[in-house]
């Protein structure tokens, strides 16, 4: 696809706050209909990137085009076609659930009749019809998040920006949010999201970039990244005392790579079960776990650090 088809087109995109460089010359394109993720730890520059795309943070340097337009010049025009789910809720706690949708629709210039109809549809979509007349204040975190998502859909956006959509939610609430996002994806809405949860990135993203310290470390689909940058399986070993040092070469080609973490040892291999008897004999670990490689392992390989500290 050429860059002209890209809903978001960034080259050398940079954001500085005073002397601090939050985003350090990144390149990426987001295409129509895909779910695109920025995966990285806190402070990697994900939110700063999202705010620039959302036209509420001026670009320090580089090129950024959103829906083919320049955020600096056409901010309001771009924002009219975006749906934004910010990291921190900006719902009005004193208003009711329905009023929050209603006033947001009015911000976009929807007529009273349209906004009433749309609010009803969206309440059904996020399963909050029964709470429509309640004030927002006492709602659970998951319900508020769903309301924020509903609100961001009021203008029927071509592009949704979700900054840490499930941070702070319990597992059940996270799945409810993911379910709504899946449906949107199926309807062809382009999703751009940031997350520091690798499972969220694996579940939702067709394609993602791994960000670290303001830069893009790698780009690809979750599967492709795992295949390219990790092995099929991982054997995780825990020890009662100090984690021993081992060389990958000492396993006769069974281990591609070793990562030593403060509390565990990880052996990257294509056949975990075959490795288990070997490590039991040689290393005497307290516990052994064989699992598939995840984006977490990719991240660890790229940065030497874990995603969630």
């Amino acid at each position: 696809m050429s860059t002209n088809d890209a809903l978001i087109h960034a080259r050398g995109l940079t954001k500085q706050f005073g002397g601090l460089t939050a985003v350090d010359g990144i390149d990426f394109d987001v295409h129509k209909g895909e779910a695109f993720g920025f995966l990285g730890p806190n402070g990697a520059g994900k939110s700063s990137t999202m705010r620039m795309i959302g036209c509420v943070s001026p670009v320090t340097d580089g090129t950024l085009r959103v829906l083919g337009l320049d955020p600096l010049r056409d901010g309001p025009k771009i924002r009219a076609r975006l749906g934004v789910v910010p990291q921190l809720d900006t719902l009005d706690n004193e208003l009711t659930v329905r009023e929050n949708l209603w006033i947001y629709g009015r911000y976009f210039g929807l007529s009273r009749a349209d906004v009433r109809k749309r609010a009803q549809e969206l309440l059904e979509f996020v399963q909050l019809e029964e709470r429509a007349r309640d004030r927002v204040e006492p709602l659970s975190g998951g319900m508020k998040r769903r309301l924020t998502i509903a609100r961001s859909l009021v203008n029927d956006p071509e592009l949704m920006l979700l900054d840490e959509p499930t941070t702070g939610l319990d597992p059940q609430a996270r799945h409810a949010v993911w379910d709504r996002l899946f449906r949107l994806k199926r309807q062809g809405v382009t999703l751009v999201l940031t997350t520091h949860y690798m499972d969220e990135a694996e579940q939702l993203c067709d394609r993602l970039v791994i960000m670290d310290r303001g830069k893009i470390a790698e780009e690809g689909s979750p599967l492709e990244l795992i295949r390219r940058l990790s092995t099929r399986e991982v054997v995780e070993l825990r020890f009662p005392e100090d984690v021993p040092t081992v060389e990958p070469e000492s396993f006769n080609g069974q281990v591609a790579r070793v990562e030593v973490l403060p509390d565990r040892l990880m052996l990257y291999t294509d056949d975990g079960d075959a490795l288990v008897p070997v490590v039991h004999e040689r290393l005497h670990p307290q516990s052994v776990l064989v699992r598939r490689s995840t984006l977490e392992d990719v991240f660890l390989r790229l940065t030497g650090r874990t995603l969630v500290d």
Partner: protein, 255 residues
């Protein structure tokens, strides 16, 4: 004025709908209480001893109360609510995620403040008329004057609300700014009774210009050029406040 600002105005009016009943009762009751206590009660004492004001004290103090009420409502509505919409409810951030711009958020909120001041001014003028404190048809101009005085306060306070790091700053504003202006800007007695230094200070306050302007309108001794001068001075405060508010809002919201 633009259609975007009206959408923001709609938000503030929607929020106000939850408290409007109590708010209107207070707004209507206050002038009655003030005029009874100060105009009629205290006024009897003042008039008996020869005030030297040239008019009964009720007629003198009534427009002062009107002006200071416009000031108080405007200053309050632009202080905590504006800071809240930046820091607590983050309403302004929500608005900026839509086609609305920073200036729409400011103007829309000001329209709401104007509505609050206008409602109060209207109720006050009706009560003033009931108390017989209006002596000229020129008093109709006291209505827009009250709104102008309100803007001369609400816009600078709005700018300040976006600039302040913490709400403690408002304590200083009300303690050392608004309350002294309420008491000493020609509201209850002429500023010529103030010692030198303080008198000149009073002339600089928008409150004094608002009070003198409204008093001349309700008493009927307003002159065109003086009135225009006072209005222009108030407008200058409002304009400077708007320019400042655009800067402080942008620095806070667009980073």
């Amino acid at each position: 004025m633009n259609v975007y600002a009206l959408r923001v105005y709609e938000y503030w009016m929607l929020s106000y709908r939850r408290v409007w009943k109590g708010s209107i009762v207070t707004t209507a009751l206050n002038p009655v209480l003030y005029l009874t206590a100060l105009g009629v009660g205290l006024g009897k004492l003042v008039n008996r001893n020869g005030s030297g004001l040239g008019v009964p004290y009720l007629d003198y103090v009534a427009p002062g109360i009107l002006a200071s009420t416009a000031m108080l409502i405007a200053a309050f509505e632009s202080s905590y609510p504006v800071m809240g919409a930046i820091r607590w409810t983050r309403t302004f951030f929500a608005q900026l995620a839509t086609p609305l711009r920073v200036r729409d958020s400011i103007v829309g909120h000001q329209l709401y403040v104007c509505t609050r001041v206008a409602t109060a001014a209207l109720l006050y003028l009706v009560v003033l008329a009931g108390f017989g404190a209006i002596h000229s048809w020129l008093a109709v101009f006291a209505f827009p004057s009250a709104i102008l005085l309100g803007l001369a306060f609400s816009l600078p306070v709005t700018a300040m609300a976006a600039w302040l790091e913490r709400d403690e700053g408002f304590n200083a504003l009300f303690r050392f700014g608004v309350t002294p202006m309420f008491l000493f800007s020609g509201t209850f007695f002429p500023v010529t009774r103030l010692p030198h230094g303080f008198r000149e200070l009073a002339y600089v306050t928008p409150t004094w210009h608002g009070v003198v302007l409204m008093r001349s309108l309700t008493l009927g001794d307003a002159t065109f050029w003086w009135s225009l001068g006072h209005a222009a001075y108030l407008a200058a405060w409002a304009a400077a406040g708007f320019a400042l508010a655009l800067r402080t809002f942008t620095r806070r919201l667009v980073t």
